[in-house]
């Protein structure tokens, strides 16, 4: 019976396959239509809300009032400047750390590579909020320990470092971007032809000079693409601007959009959020265009190729310890110091700077009481996100890439562009658009307040990443294999299921894990869509922070980091044959 069912199923697929390519075109058209609705609706909502005053659901006429207010307020231009400087400085700090880091780990014989990879991945998983608490304790002008030490050491009258500035914000944000930049650049450095480097060394050029004169120029297109990508991310992030910027009256576009929809007094101003969002949308689209151009330009650099060479590691020799010191310094900033501060804060009855009195009051009560404060819901919801978001994203990505890379459908270019558009729409805007949709049209879109709406927001947000990954892995599967399958009489769907999917499974799984982790730590969209029913761990952290429950949130942070260490360590061990997590980017 089972065999018969299977045969019937195969028969159906065969039937579909033989009616190609019309069926493929039809399927591609359906997929394009579905994606257009999925991606287009939130964007349309942002535009719609920018043209309205009042509340979602209210029948009010269209107006340009919001735009008039936004464009005629000088504060808007100050905020745009702040946003620009914050984004540029963040990207600068990221690259100053990430480029040498990726070179050291990808091109040299530095020891403890596997441990460093695991620690880098853990760095991604520490919520930025928690890291920021550590930086306040270290760099606050009033109480920052580092400031106090520097003042004592150099007999300074004023604290030399000020966290509450655009530079301070950029430092914290820039450091938190490093792991993402690392994994994005890793592929370029890993596949770099070493012959030019070796020629330089043979000619007696120093390692540093080779790095500056050879490695950086060769990988410049990849670095530029990462720069644009991070710039786009930096204008949309909310955590650091909220914790460091807002207390010091430093507003950026994302914090303004958030406070417009979640004001401290009165009711939300969705129209204003839409008008500010429109600016962000234009910037995002312009940057996406630039990003695509840079990526295309990168393909012209033929020295970056995977053909006919075996990557050789550069012996660091006496520089090994200096390189290790650099990596350790970064890991200290990214992982060790935040973890130590969190551990310290989690053991105190209330937040205190280190002292004998504080040591005498250490307690485990916050760990014991944590279940009463948190409950199972955020963990269940987070688990749903971590499974549902990568699954849906990768499922759609595989379908899109299959059409784009493996078929001759006439509008495959459009489909590819469509899948890339979410990259140009900042996450906060996507979430605001979905919230407006859920509130204003709840009869047709009854997802407001559910985990499903966050799954949707995350899926849309990462579908660009997903399709880039599946495009790159699918293009590596030679057409001969597919043609062999077709010649043997298999339909295109069968070829996809039986030949292509098994071959790209490793890359897909890699991205599945990566997207799952991004979904776990994402806070901006989850916060914008937050209600009591769809609370996730990242939003619990925000709520605890806002409620002043620092020791409790620190205890949660310590547990999460330990949990992440175990999971990431196990995954790296289990998937060591597949490749580095996130390397497909």
């Amino acid at each position: 019976m089972k065999v018969e069912s299977h045969s019937e199923a195969v028969g159906v697929w065969e039937g579909i396959g033989r009616r190609m390519p019309q069926k493929v075109s039809l399927f591609a058209g359906g997929l394009a239509g579905f994606l257009s609705i999925l991606i287009g609706l939130p964007v349309v909502m942002v535009v719609l809300m920018s043209l309205r005053t009042g509340f979602p659901g209210e029948d009010v006429p269209f107006t340009l009032e919001n735009y008039a207010y936004v464009y005629f307020t000088p504060q808007t231009y100050e905020i745009l400047l702040n946003t620009f400087f914050f984004a540029v400085s963040s990207v600068f700090i990221t690259l100053v750390i990430a480029v040498p880091l990726v070179w050291i780990l990808m091109r040299t014989d530095i020891p403890f590579k596997k441990t460093i990879y695991v620690l880098l991945t853990i760095g991604i998983l520490i919520p930025v909020f928690l890291r920021t608490i550590a930086w306040i304790l270290l760099l606050s002008p009033r109480i920052g320990l580092l400031n106090k030490w520097l003042q004592e050491l150099f007999a300074l009258s004023n604290p030399p470092l000020n966290l509450y500035s655009i530079t301070g914000m950029a430092f914290v944000q820039g450091v938190s971007f490093v792991p993402a930049a690392f994994f994005m650049l890793a592929a370029a450095y890993r596949s770099m032809d070493p012959s030019l480097e070796e020629a330089a060394y043979t000619s007696g050029v120093s390692k540093l000079k080779t790095f500056l004169k050879i490695n950086i120029p060769i990988t410049w297109p990849a670095i530029a693409a990462v720069m644009v990508y991070l710039f786009m991310t930096a204008i949309a992030v909310f955590e650091v601007p909220a914790i460091i910027g807002l207390p010091a009256r430093i507003h950026v576009l994302s914090s303004l959009i958030f406070t417009s929809t979640t004001p401290s007094t009165g009711l939300p101003e969705y129209g204003m959020a839409g008008a500010y969002g429109a600016i962000m949308l234009v910037i995002g689209l312009a940057l996406a265009f630039l990003y695509v151009r840079l990526v295309k330009q990168g393909k012209k650099y033929t020295v970056i190729t995977g053909r006919g060479y075996r990557p050789r590691e550069i012996a660091l020799g006496k520089w090994k310890w200096a390189a290790l010191g650099f990596v350790f310094l970064y890991l200290a900033i990214e992982v060790f110091i935040p973890f130590a501060v969190l551990l310290w804060a989690s053991l105190l009855p209330y937040l205190q700077l280190p002292s004998a009195e504080a040591v005498s009051s250490l307690t485990l009560k916050h760990y014991i009481e944590l279940p009463t404060h948190v409950g199972p819901r955020p963990f269940i919801n987070t688990l749903i996100l971590m499974v549902a978001v990568p699954t849906v994203t990768m499922f759609l990505s595989v379908l899109v890439s299959w059409i784009v890379i493996r078929t001759q459908v006439s509008f495959r270019g459009f489909l590819d562009t469509l899948a890339f558009i979410p990259h140009a729409v900042p996450g906060i805007l996507m979430a605001v658009g979905l919230a407006y949709l859920g509130l204003a049209y709840r009869d047709y879109f009854p997802l407001y307040g559910t985990v499903a709406i966050i799954v949707l927001a995350h899926t849309i947000n990462w579908i660009a990443y997903g399709t880039r990954t599946t495009n790159s892995v699918m293009i590596q599967v030679h057409r001969e294999l597919e043609e062999a399958g077709r010649v043997s009489g298999a339909s295109q769907p069968r070829v996809l299921g039986k030949i292509i999917l098994p071959l790209i499974a490793a890359g897909v799984l890699n991205s599945w894990i990566w997207i799952g982790m991004l979904s776990y730590r994402e806070v901006t969209m989850s916060l914008t869509l937050l209600t009591r029913n769809n609370i996730v761990i990242s939003t619990v952290v925000w709520q605890f922070w806002g409620s002043g429950w620092i020791p409790q949130v620190s205890a949660l942070g310590v547990i999460l980091i330990l949990f992440a260490t175990i999971v990431v360590g196990t995954l790296r061990f289990a998937l060591s044959r597949i490749g580095d997590i996130g390397s497909a980017s």
Binding site: F55, G57, R142, T262, G266, L267, A440, T531, G546
Partner: protein, 344 residues
């Protein structure tokens, strides 16, 4: 003598009739509500998350016991009062009933609903509720009071430096050491009340020149505890009590006057699915037994109920309570204050 007896009898009968009528005036609406509540059988209750499911069920148990009912209470803890209030406005605008029958939110949030006529009023006074506690055209009653005052780190601020009046916050010695929380309605209440708009805005501008650190209330408590901020211009007693419970060195500048008192109000929403249980529950929320439950689970009590902590705290102090005619003004000025301080 007979005439006198007749007159006395008539007077007594008349008095008895009047008393009976007056008694019916209290009993009749409640009886009607109880009968209606029995048919409805359920209440969707929205309240502060600090109440917790246990507190909400304690309220339900007390309610059922008092009126001999078996009503099921669905507790909806607040995720974001501002957004949920806006959600009610939006749902009403699109002709949909609200998700909840009654809402316990701050007087300012109820003000936003009242300005849009989104309550279902009821003559709560006729059901025996103290008129002082009824607000917004008999739409809501006050459940509990918060208090807000300048708050300082008692370890780091010497007794002689503790602010004694609001203007002390403007002393240049505090520049860069102050904090201000995003509850800008605290000053909005002073503007709509004793200070007036001009004095309040002048004060806030000078306060802003002191470059206070701006955060949410809970976060401010932490910044005070670690000494990043020495004095917060205002902080609610809820944050103060919570911090004090953990042994943190926070204290109110109790000499400062007037004291600001935001209130939690409860009211039935327009087109609520279960209006009878709703109104009956609102009446119940005015009872002394609720004060005990509320105090136990949220830490707050009513300044209008003699014997409560809030009542005792308010004695002898000038306390600023917000009234319905101030709602629009508080909303408008609070936004202005938010801009001056730099919150938006």
């Amino acid at each position: 003598m007979k005439i006198l007896f007749k007159r006395l009898s008539s007077f007594c009968l008349g008095l008895m009739a009047m008393l009976a009528w007056a008694g019916a005036g209290v009993a009749a609406p409640i009886d009607d509500l109880i009968a209606g509540a029995k048919k409805e059988g359920v209440i969707d209750f929205y309240g502060p998350s600090t109440l917790g499911p246990e507190g909400a069920q304690a309220l339900a148990a007390g309610f059922n016991k008092k009126y001999g009912l078996n009503i099921k209470l669905n507790f909806n803890p607040s995720g974001n009062m501002t957004r949920d209030t806006a959600k009610i406005v939006g749902m009403s605008a699109s002709g949909q009933p609200p998700e909840w029958d009654i809402m316990v939110v701050t007087d300012a949030h109820h003000g936003s609903l009242w300005l849009r006529k989104l309550h279902k009023p009821f003559d709560y006074a006729s059901a025996g509720v103290n008129k002082n506690r009824i607000e917004y055209d008999t739409s809501t009653i006050s459940v509990a009071n918060q208090f807000a005052l300048p708050t300082y780190n008692s370890k780091l601020v010497a007794a002689k430096d503790v602010p004694k009046k609001w203007e002390d916050l403007l002393d240049p010695k505090w520049k860069g050491k102050l904090g201000a929380i995003n509850s800008t309605h605290h000053f909005g209440r002073l503007a709509a009340g004793p200070w007036g708009e001009e004095k309040t805005l002048d004060f806030v501008k000078k306060l802003s020149a002191q470059k206070p650190l701006l955060t949410r209330a809970g976060e401010m408590a932490q910044r005070l505890i670690i000494g990043e901020v020495l004095v917060s211009a205002t902080l609610q007693d809820s944050q103060l009590h919570e911090s004090q419970k953990s042994g943190a060195p926070l204290a109110f500048a109790e000499e400062v006057s007037p004291v600001i008192s935001p209130e939690y109000h409860v009211g039935v929403l327009k087109n609520a699915p279960h209006p009878n249980v709703g109104h009956l529950f609102v009446i119940f929320m005015a009872s002394p037994e609720v004060q005990e439950i509320w105090k136990k689970h949220t830490g707050h009590s009513s300044a209008y109920v003699p014997g409560t902590d809030a009542y005792k705290f308010a004695q002898g102090k000038q306390v600023v309570y917000m009234k319905q005619d101030q709602a629009a003004k508080v909303d408008k000025i609070s936004r202005q204050i938010g801009k001056i301080l730099g919150f938006n």
